[in-house]
């Protein structure tokens, strides 16, 4: 059924259609209307799920961990400070191999107090062992949640699905909401292999001494690597059932490109317009949209970017003391591959600063003008 809805509601429907059995969440802008909508769906009985109002995000993730440990499909949502509050439990959920799916509506970290779009919150958690997906549209957000449950429950690692704060969360877009039977065909019920079970009692979370902790971590990395293959396969299966395909990365008009922009989130959506404008002028520019950030799709990145001489990475985030995070990962992926690519790193849009087509144009122009980047970080749109 097609409906014009805000991103947060698309997320709520995604969770409902995934037959989530427990929601435990705490409000924070710009995520709050996700859990408000979920509470109404649960209250009306449309969604058959337990709903726990908790007193903090730390408690929310604790509830999800507890419920997932019993073999229940769980969901929560947060942003910025809320996500940060969950930090130790993010390590826990991954280490405990629990397939929790969480939506993080990208919001700037504070202080200064700022509720608007910025990816530093989710990217700060990139080391925790959670898969990460960045969405460009409300439709993609809904679809990715359903896919995430399938991927996570197969490899037993949790997933984080991101949407841009306010730009997607509070903006109306046309979304095709699938019907429940179709989703049921695609996503079976969660059958946990490891769970708290009085018929088969075990103790979870106990000590692994140095003799075997290392091996357990090796296996987690193995699961992440497996996750790359599983994500690609699930995306294809999704396409077969729903007729929509995203890929773990998407190369947009990269054929014979001299310059490829690397983007994520809604910046990708704006960049498409700019690319089309350039192409209509006869210029060979393209875009690599990174959807899956963890596990990092290094092979796919190398395959696409090796075509171009110049790469301009647009980061709506920063790791202080280094630079844009996507840029670091791109550099790492391309290193030692015998490539001569110049990688230009742009940081823009922090704290909700609008990333307009003009800024993207400036990025393209600046990259064209210089053979090599003059600075490690180029702050685009800075008001001097």
């Amino acid at each position: 059924m097609e409906k014009v809805i805000v991103g947060n509601h698309a997320v709520a429907y995604g969770a409902m259609l995934s037959r989530v059995q427990l929601v435990a969440a705490y409000p924070i802008s710009p995520q709050t209307t996700i859990i408000e909508e979920l509470s109404e769906l649960c209250a009306s009985g449309q969604m058959k799920s337990e709903y726990i109002k908790v007193e903090s995000e730390h408690s929310a993730m604790a509830c999800c961990i507890g419920a997932a440990s019993v073999g229940v499909r769980t969901f929560t949502a947060t942003s910025a400070q809320g996500l940060a509050l969950m930090h130790e439990e993010l390590h826990w959920a991954a280490g405990a191999r629990l397939p929790i799916v969480m939506v993080d509506v990208n919001r700037a970290m504070s202080p200064p107090w700022n509720m608007w779009c910025d990816q530093t919150d989710s990217l700060s958690q990139r080391d925790t062992g959670w898969l990460q997906f960045y969405c460009e549209s409300n439709q993609e957000a809904l679809d990715t949640i359903i896919q995430a449950y399938k991927i996570s429950e197969e490899i037993l690692l949790p997933s984080m699905v991101m949407l841009d704060g306010f730009i997607l969360s509070h903006t109306y877009e046309l979304v095709d909401i699938p019907n429940q039977e179709t989703v049921d065909r695609f996503l079976p019920r969660f059958q946990a292999k490891y769970k708290l079970d009085i018929e088969d009692p075990h103790s979870f979370g106990g000590a692994f001494l140095p003799e075997i902790y290392f091996e357990q971590r090796y296996k987690m990395q193995g699961a992440m690597e497996e996750g790359k293959k599983v994500a690609k396969r699930v995306d294809e299966e999704f396409n077969e059932v729903f007729g929509r395909k995203y890929g773990i990365v998407e190369d947009y008009r990269c054929e014979e490109a001299d310059l490829i922009l690397v983007t994520s989130g809604t910046i990708a959506s704006t960049t498409r317009e700019v690319i089309d404008a350039y192409r209509s002028q006869g210029e060979n520019v393209g875009m690599l949209k990174i959807k899956m950030f963890r596990p990092f799709p290094a092979d796919e990145v190398e395959k696409v970017l090796s075509q171009a001489k110049k790469v301009a990475v647009i980061d709506r985030n920063i790791s202080y003391g280094q630079g844009g995070i996507f840029a670091q990962e791109i550099k790492s992926a391309l290193f030692g591959k015998g490539l001569d690519t110049s990688i230009f790193c742009y940081v823009t849009g922090l704290g909700g600063r609008d990333v307009t087509p003009e800024i993207i144009q400036d990025i393209i122009e600046y990259t064209k003008e210089n053979d090599r980047p003059l600075k490690e970080i180029n702050w685009m749109g800075l008001n001097k």
């Binding site: 191999r97 979870f204 692994f208 091996e215 357990q216 296996k219």
Partner: protein, 559 residues
């Protein structure tokens, strides 16, 4: 336990999961604080009850609809629940912790419910099987004497009660029937008779007899009460028309005619004065009650004062009579002054001081004095020590420090209430039992720790309204009809469920449910802690709604 061997990386579990039972890990060794189910806690109601009834215990049983068991627990201490449930001043309710949360539990109402239930159930009172060889004499069949007789008889003693009047019950017979029907009194006395207690009426024990006739007994309990009424000490007190309050109530209770005039005044502020006033209203009179202090300072039970006012008894506060004026030997007028209160300095009640020149007259042909009573000074004055020349001196157990003579009730100082008398009779019985067996006295309640409101975990209680005691409407009230009606079973059960059960385990099982080590279990209806695994986190102690669990230093136990 076999050691688990992991031979290669494939055998490493993907997550931290136990591969065999973990009971070998006795985490009790980590403990430095040990939770203990304390039996040193006491609820404020039990502490304040003059009989020290185990109130949370019988309220808890009523809440579970186990009325037989509840009554058994109650009469273990108090043989007169039907009486107390009607006339007790319920100091338990004054300290009920629930008062700080919403409204106190209607303990008195449920005590009466159990008393009335006892009639229908035909409950048998347990008695010690072995009969004791010793005999005890009790002088006086008021609540103190009855209570002592009951407790001694249950312990197997041969008990003989000497009563000077023709009827048993002492001051209980003076209470009007709309508060305490005679048949309730007779019924609860018959329970005590049923234990084999011998009653002798019309037998006054005077000073001589105290020495001679009672020598065959191994111990004596004196419970002769306080029947000598106070006087005003003003001119005209001996005029015709001036009556004693206690005498008036005795006569009206016995349905004897009392010749009084239409302009009736009552002087006093205690329960007797209020009883007189309300009885007069039922006889069709319009009495005026004169009290020298204010309403809040009246020693009568406040609910009784409220009912008196609702029934139309007029009360004049801060008024004292100073002279009674007669005509032809009969009372015609009463002269009064108005008082003001000045603080008595030492923290006692404020003193009433007459306002100079405030004298005024009222027509009166009848004045009934209810100023309080004290014990007969002459009784046993040569043998026993007295306080203020009237009250027999005793210790906390009722021992006079004179041989095997004990005393309790209104004849000792500081009692003055029905439940106080019953409590003193019970304590004296315990003391007499110990005395006759040459044993040490049992422990008193004073050592226990009172559970206060701040100790209660309010997370487990929702607010609820206190049950209202059903009453007769003002219009329907008459002398023989009980004003307070019995409460229905459902209401009694509901009200009992409001009890916090301060300091008394009622098997709510919350400790068992919250223990993260699953170290609390139930054995024979008792909650126990498995100290092999208890890590001493203290969650059980904090969560216990009624503050029963204490955390004590483990090292003191390990020693």
């Amino acid at each position: 336990m076999d050691k688990i061997i992991i031979r290669n990386i494939n055998e490493v579990p993907p997550l931290s999961i136990s591969l065999q039972p973990t009971l070998w890990n006795q985490t009790g060794s980590w403990r430095y604080l040990r939770p203990i189910y304390s039996d040193e806690k006491i609820s404020p109601c039990t502490q304040n009850c003059p009989i020290n009834q185990n109130i949370p215990a019988w309220l808890g049983l009523v809440a579970e609809e186990k009325f037989d068991e509840a009554l058994k627990v109650l009469i273990n201490d108090n043989p007169m629940p039907g009486i107390c449930g009607r006339v007790c001043h319920h100091p338990c309710e004054s300290l009920c912790n629930r008062k700080d949360y919403d409204e106190v539990v209607s303990i008195n109402m449920i005590e009466r419910f159990l008393g009335d239930f006892g009639v229908g159930s035909g409950i048998a009172i347990e008695q010690q099987i072995s009969k004791q060889e010793k005999r005890v004499a009790i002088v006086g069949s008021g609540p103190a004497g009855l209570s002592c007789a009951y407790h001694l008889a249950r312990k197997g003693y041969e008990v003989k009660v000497f009563e000077a009047l023709s009827e048993l019950g002492g001051m209980l017979r003076v209470i009007p029937p709309y508060r305490l029907p005679q048949k309730v009194l007779d019924r609860e006395i018959s329970w005590i008779e049923g234990l084999g207690v011998e009653f002798l009426c019309n037998t006054k024990i005077d000073n001589e007899l105290l020495g001679r006739d009672l020598s065959e007994f191994n111990a004596i309990f004196i419970a002769t009460g306080a029947a000598t009424e106070e006087k005003l000490g003003i001119p005209g007190e001996d005029l015709e028309g001036v009556f004693s309050g206690i005498e008036f109530l005795r006569l009206t209770n016995a349905r004897k005619k009392v010749r009084i005039g239409r302009k009736v005044m009552v002087v006093g502020g205690g329960n007797t004065a209020i009883d007189v006033g309300r009885t007069l209203r039922r006889m069709g009179y319009k009495p005026i009650l004169l009290y020298r202090r204010t309403k809040e300072q009246m020693p009568a039970i406040q609910e009784e004062v409220e009912e008196a006012l609702r029934e139309g008894v007029r009360i004049e506060y801060l008024v004292s009579p100073v002279r009674m004026v007669g005509r032809n030997g009969k009372l015609a007028k009463i002269e009064c002054v108005r008082n003001k209160l000045i603080s008595s300095g030492g923290g006692g009640r404020p003193k009433p001081i007459p306002i100079k020149g405030s004298n005024f007259f009222m027509d009166a042909d009848t004045v009934i004095l209810a100023l309080g009573a004290y014990p007969d000074a002459g009784f046993a004055e040569s043998q026993l020590k007295k306080v203020n020349g009237h009250y027999i001196t005793v210790d906390g157990w009722g021992w006079t420090s004179c041989g095997a003579i004990f005393a309790g009730g209104d004849v000792t100082a500081g009692v003055g209430t029905v439940s106080g008398a019953i409590g003193s009779g019970k304590r004296a019985a315990l003391a007499i039992d110990s005395f006759l067996k040459s044993r040490k006295l049992p422990e008193s309640f004073n050592g226990k720790q009172i559970v206060e409101f701040r100790d209660i975990n309010l997370d487990y209680f929702s607010h609820s309204k206190r049950a209202k005691r059903p009453q007769l409407s003002i219009k329907s009230r008459s002398r023989p009809k009980e004003v307070n009606k019995g409460v229905a079973v459902a209401a009694a059960v509901r009200e009992s469920n409001r009890c916090f059960s301060c300091g008394l385990c009622n098997q709510c099982n919350i400790c068992l449910m919250v223990c993260p080590d699953v170290a609390i279990f139930k054995e024979n209806e008792s909650l126990m802690i498995n100290y092999d695994y208890c890590k001493g986190c203290g969650i059980c102690a904090v969560e216990c709604p009624r503050s029963i669990i204490n955390l004590e230093r483990e090292e003191l136990w390990r020693k």
